[in-house]
């Protein structure tokens, strides 16, 4: 009975947890409710993923209104994977927030953090699970509004400006998205994504569709921080509370990538996106600029959080690069990297959060001699950094491997060379951390000896372990990504 309602529950439980948290208010209870809700969603997402892998896509009619009239929740191989990532990241970050956020947010505002966190999780999960284009917009707004609040909770006063800028741009992005959906509704008369895809080929006039494609592309590109629409991201990640940086970097941009893929391949279709328009070429060009330019910027950053934020922009470039290849291998790489980078960056931001808490910031001055003050944290950052570079045996290597294979299969040797060569820039910025932490003598800004609280260290190390685990055992990630790629390209589910 319950099992049949899982697609709804996975979103509804964290959504309902938010008002509950506001009602209870007491920090301990708020924390417990939020964590339990996230854990439930994770559990539900795993069950859904298992079911989808066995029995194919699940369609769930919300309120028993059959699609395309009612809102449909549709779980397939691709978004089940995204659901697992989002709810998994939420479940890891939620306990981390217990100590980390308590130190960064005023005590009487703590319950607000937990409530908005639940809302953000619910919004992102909703974006991934819904099969309705307008419902997706609603969830996008829920997630975005929640994330503006979460970022603004940051201790640094610049967090307010960052949240404000993100708010303006996020709103522009969402507006563009909804304009695009409106245009599609105009020509197809439906909001159900599958239905839309079925009716689009019969549309006589292509112009509104092309305009819709442009609006959706730019709107979602803004959300996923594709170069040059990424300028909101570094500050947002750098000044948000650490738990928020970790959660958003692991999930928010990734869900937007999912939306882009869903619209490109699930609505507009390969012929329109690839053959009628040079979308892949544009995406490829922007991705390459993103990878090179953002990695170079990261190289000169003086704050570790900002450094990793810029590295996120570069890593998103790798994901969109895979999309731009528009081939099976390329999409596999994109989907795998979406997951692997989420895990890697999540680990990094959680660990950096521990440093920022103990040292009062993550500037390079406070990283000097960190290996002696916080050996486990320094080692964790180094290991996750190896995954960021793509060293074999780490999750990052797996994504890079498929990108290279995809490039070579498309006969683009230069692209393969670019992918492996740009990882050397990543070596450069990870090395800067290693040099400061392991080689430099501790300075006045270095925190006193002692690790972050175990409640913070354990979730972070869980993700570090995941970076290594998914570098060895690729059965879950790669199989899921392959299925997703096949699904997107119209093959067997």
């Amino acid at each position: 009975m319950i099992a049949g309602q899982l697609p709804a529950l996975v979103v509804v439980v964290p959504l309902a947890a938010a008002p509950l948290v506001v009602l209870v208010r007491r920090p301990v209870a708020a924390f417990a409710i939020a964590t339990a809700a996230c854990a439930f969603s994770f559990f539900a997402a795993l069950l859904l993923a298992a079911e989808v892998a066995g029995a194919g896509p699940i369609s769930y009619a919300l309120g028993s209104w059959p699609p395309p009239w009612g809102i449909e929740y549709r779980v397939d191989a691709f978004n089940a994977f995204v659901l697992v990532l989002v709810s998994g990241a939420a479940t890891v970050v939620a306990p981390y927030g217990w100590r980390a956020v308590a130190a960064e947010v005023r005590r009487d505002q703590l319950y607000l953090y937990h409530a908005t966190f639940c809302l953000c999780v619910a919004g992102l999960l909703g974006m991934a699970i819904t099969g309705d284009a307008f419902n997706l917009f609603v969830f996008m707004e829920i997630a975005s509004l929640a994330s503006y609040i979460l970022i603004a909770l940051g201790r640094d006063r610049r967090a307010l400006l960052a949240a404000y800028q993100y708010l303006i741009l996020g709103t522009i992005g969402a507006t563009f998205y909804v304009i695009g959906v409106g245009l599609l509704y105009l020509v197809t008369g439906t909001l159900n994504i599958a239905d839309m895809a079925a009716r689009l080929p019969a549309v006589p006039d292509l112009r509104p569709v092309l305009a819709a494609l442009a609006f959706v592309t730019v709107g979602v590109s803004l959300k996923l921080a594709l170069f040059p629409l990424h300028f909101w991201l570094p500050n947002a990640y750098a000044y948000a509370p650490s738990a928020v940086s970790a959660f958003l970097s692991a999930t928010a941009t990734k869900v937007s990538v999912y939306v882009l893929l869903r619209f490109y391949f699930g609505v507009f279709g390969l012929p329109l996106v690839v053959e009628t328009l040079p979308m892949p070429q544009i995406l490829l060009a922007l991705s390459i600029v993103a990878i090179v330019s953002a990695s170079l910027v990261a190289l000169w950053q003086t704050d570790l959080k900002r450094l990793f934020a810029y590295s996120s922009v570069a890593q998103i470039g790798y994901i969109t690069l895979g999309i731009g290849m528009a081939s099976r291998e390329g999409l596999t790489a994109a989907v795998v990297h979406l997951f692997n980078h989420g895990v890697t960056k999540g680990a990094l931001f959680l660990l950096v959060g521990g440093v920022a808490l103990r040292a009062g910031g993550a500037g390079f001055a406070s990283l000097r001699g960190l290996a002696r003050a916080m050996p486990l944290t320094a080692l964790g950052i180094t290991l996750a950094g190896l995954s960021l570079i793509g060293v074999p045996g780490t999750a990052g290597f797996v994504s890079k491997w498929y990108l290279v294979i995809g490039a070579i299969e498309a006969g683009r040797w230069w692209l393969a060379a670019l992918v492996v060569a740009t990882s050397l820039i990543a070596v450069g910025y990870v090395w800067r951390f290693v040099e400061a932490a392991y080689l430099a003598e501790p300075g006045p800004a270095t925190p006193a000896r002692g690790e972050a609280s175990p409640v913070m260290l354990a979730p972070a190390w869980l993700l570090v372990a995941a970076c290594l685990w998914f570098g060895f055992d690729t059965s879950f990630t790669v199989t899921s990504a392959r299925r997703a790629a096949a699904l997107l390209l119209g093959g067997a589910p």
Partner: protein, 561 residues
Amino acid sequence: MIETAIHPGLLVIAAGLALPFLRGGPRAAVALAAPLAAAALVLFVPEGSHWQAEYLGLPIAPYAVDRLSRLFALVFAVMAFGGALFALNNASRLEMPAAFVYAGSAIGATFAGDLLTLFAFWELMAIGSTLVVWSAGTPAAWAASRRYLAVHLFGGVLLLAGIAGHVGATGSTLFVRFALDSTAHWLILAAFLVNAGAPPLSAWVADTYPEASWSGTVFLSAFTTKTAVYVLLRGFPGTELLVWVGLWMVFYGIVFALLENDMRRILAYSIVNQVGFMVAGVGLGTEMALNGAAAHAFTHILYKALLLMSAGAVLHATGRRKCSELGGLFRTMPLTTVCGTIGALAISSFPLTSGFVSKSMISQAAADLHLAAVWLALAAASAGVFLHAGIKFPWFVFFQTDSGLRPPDPPLNMRLAMLVFAALCVGLGVVYRPLYDLLPYPADYAPYTGAHVVAQLQLLLFSGLAFFVMLPMLRRTPTITLDTDWFYRRAAPAFWRAVESAARARAASLADFLRRPAARAYGWVVRHHGADGSLARTRTTGDMALWVAVLLAAYLLVSYL
């Protein structure tokens, strides 16, 4: 079957990871027992591919054993043991664990039956060896380790691109023999040669190895370049290009070693020189030549380690590295002197040492193929080896004029390590059958024929004579720098300098031509990407919105065209 259940490379790596948590007796026990256990495993594991697994949807063979891989894995395990014994009294907490990870991944690379496993261990080797250099703890070592890592990561990039291309084209990850027929295979060859210390990147060897600690260099000398020889033997036997690359390395090593003053840099250049012999042997490609290259790698690891141990003992005792500051140490360091001299004799292929039974196979292969030029070059190079490593190193360090230093012989563990390796160098020179039985192809070669012995002795005696005749000239130049009237520079192949100076002149004008645009490009990158660069600054919201508009306009424009 315990020998197929435990991978010797992973065993050594695991031991290395355990070492930081141990102290005193248990630490020594683990450090010495793990390599010995690995060596035993290597000896007794049957041939064949023992572990079948799948990675990234491709079948891989992480534990594939045959005669060739067993030979190299064995000497790597022995080397890990000797290095650990020698380094036991090094206080560094990082060096030995890093060296074990390094040695273990070298063993892992030799047992890699597929390219993905090879790549993983290849990268791990780069990281482990970088940490070994690091742990010396001096600013020079840090800087050198950085350059070293950059070179090896570049090699790794080449290798990964090549492997991906090979897998993409053939769908197979198996490590087989490659033909130079595609970009991918050229990339793989280039990556192998980077690690072998081949031109144009030979400089990393002499740049990095001498900067490690007195014990770190001993580890470093063994694994990276010899793993490269191993993969060349497996992937590119009989590739003619390698003959010329090898000869180039042989003479490069000799010339620079003769010009060098730092005793460990001399030995580092001599690594390039010796690996050059092996690479040339791989290029010749006959069974005799491949046997010779493999055997030479085996013996070279042992005597080069011995030489670097004696140099390390001197450095440990005196803290000095320059030949011009050393000398006369034989009075108080008799054991080190004897062991260093044995190593020097072995590297010079003196009869009754291990070098003699291995290197002559390569020359013999060249003679069998009637490649007179190659044979002659190898013979000339043998004389050159005797000059730079066989005489120059022991003479200036242990004999020469008295430097007034009176350091004692090193501690017991270091003495033992030197004795073990000296015994191996002499033992293999006398009882060479066990080594020959391990070689990849049946070896019916007889090293101790009258002709061989006499020819080699003539070569050595005359080059030795030349050295001592010229000694008065050496005395006048106690600091051995770039001094034009030094005999060996003129005796050394004259073409080398001609090529060098021509290349340098060309390079200088080219560099000038390139420098200003390069500087300008770098300035541009920093201006835009630096901490306050235009791409890194916080932008106004309007700026960001403008970009959105621009991009939307661009998309719309494209759509409507």
